[in-house]
């Protein structure tokens, strides 16, 4: 089972990474037992599963994903949200109202209007349907304060860290409430704007250095140094 690229090596689309008994993971594909890269990224072996951590990719929705979206359309009975995916997502009025929608009674723009940011969850999404959202869970709904920062969606797992180690450290060190969404957006609500800025700086650093080792330590160090300065 020869491999042609080692862990963390940079590959481009069409590069033959390995031949043999491997499973094709993210940003790869398998043909005649050979695994090729489909995006520019770094090779990552997870046992028999072979991934390429893409350095540039876009968000593709999955059921259960937490996402932040911007209202771009108010329709009769629903809102359309831009969730940074190929398709607009839909939030139905009945989901928000907790009863069926009545055109005579309900004025949707007065509930949510264009440019509102919403924290929501994807409840349905497949090849034939645009993503459908819900806000009927605790903590979901219109975002009324804090900061939203955008990073490459493929690097979200790094912001979370293994078993949440990175995000827990960020929360502890900055004192901010941090919500990490699968579509590459992170909501930060802090006690002061300075604390929020510090958290943004740390997340940007993770985005840029996602592929390096010892990142948690370095980010911790950076925050602690900045904290002393503040």
């Amino acid at each position: 089972m020869p491999i042609f690229y080692e862990q963390r090596e940079l590959v481009t689309p069409g590069d033959l990474i390995a031949d043999g008994d491997y499973m094709a993971g993210d940003s790869t594909y398998k043909e005649d037992d050979k695994i090729y890269a489909t995006r520019v990224g770094l090779v990552n072996y997870e046992g028999r599963r072979l991934n390429v951590v893409a350095l540039k990719a876009f968000y593709v929705p999955n059921v259960g994903d937490l996402v932040i979206g911007e209202v771009v359309n108010v329709n009769l009975g629903s809102w359309n949200l831009d969730i940074k995916a190929p398709h607009l997502a839909t939030l139905r009025a009945s989901d928000v109202l907790d009863r069926s929608f009545s055109p005579q009674r309900d004025d949707l723009p007065s509930i949510f209007d264009v440019e509102d940011l919403m924290l929501s969850k994807i409840v349905a999404c497949d090849r034939t349907r645009d993503p459908l959202l819900t806000i009927r869970e605790p903590g979901l709904g219109k975002i009324s304060g804090g900061q939203v920062v955008e990073i490459t969606p493929t690097k979200i797992p790094r912001v979370i860290g293994s078993k949440g180690s990175m995000v827990n450290m960020l929360k502890k060190e900055t004192g901010c409430q941090i919500t990490v969404c699968q579509n590459g957006l992170v909501l930060i609500i802090g006690k002061t704007i300075e604390k929020e800025r510090l958290a943004i700086m740390a997340i940007r650093k993770i985005d840029q250095e996602a592929h390096t080792k010892g990142l948690t330590e370095r980010v911790t160090e950076m925050i602690q140094k900045e904290n002393q300065g503040v």
Partner: protein, 245 residues
Amino acid sequence: MTKKPLTLINKKNIRVDGRKLDELRPIKIELNIIGNANGSAYIEQGKNKILAAVYGPKEVHPRHLALPDRALLRCQYHMSPFSVKERKRPAPSRRETEISKVIRECLSPSIFGEYYPRTSIDIYIEVLEADGGTRCSGIIAASLALADAGIPLRDLVAACAAGKVEEHLVLDLNGPEDNKGTDMPIALMPTFNAVTLLQMNGILTTDEFEQALNLAVKGCEQVYTLQKEALKARYINVKEEVEEE
């Protein structure tokens, strides 16, 4: 036809621009140069100066064009009015329409369009200055723009022309050579030896055709190396950081 004296290739087999018969023009590639686009690339190949940008996958407009099982791929190859000696009228010509079609078809097998049904992927190629072989330069840039947009690809598509000028088989024809000789542009997905574009106008014997095909394939392989270098150069910092550890 009034024959001009043979001047494009001298007795030492050196071409007007100083190249050997099987030599590519100098190629310079830059990525991510159009901020609005999801991916973009710029190429200079000899005097050719060409931009390519990719938008998508995104919602299809107009909506009825959306395909239920794959992404709709659209391509527009366009020459700026000032890109040639005589001003080119800005409206798309029949030549541009045909080239747009063959470029779309040559990039299509490289794209995993089936992953993104009901979306469109739009490719725009703008020729700022033209000096022969613009469809090949455009394909080189467009394939890189697709990779830069993070669209999953089976392989990069490389492109290069071979042809016959003054009884010599040559690689990568420039403007004057293209006007005078036989031109045969091809596009190739080198990992799979897949020829995705092949056109020819001019005269070749069957044997010459086979030789020209081999020559063009070799040219594509050189171009492919340059394309990979350009993609990696964009992330050179990433590579260095990895190596430091």
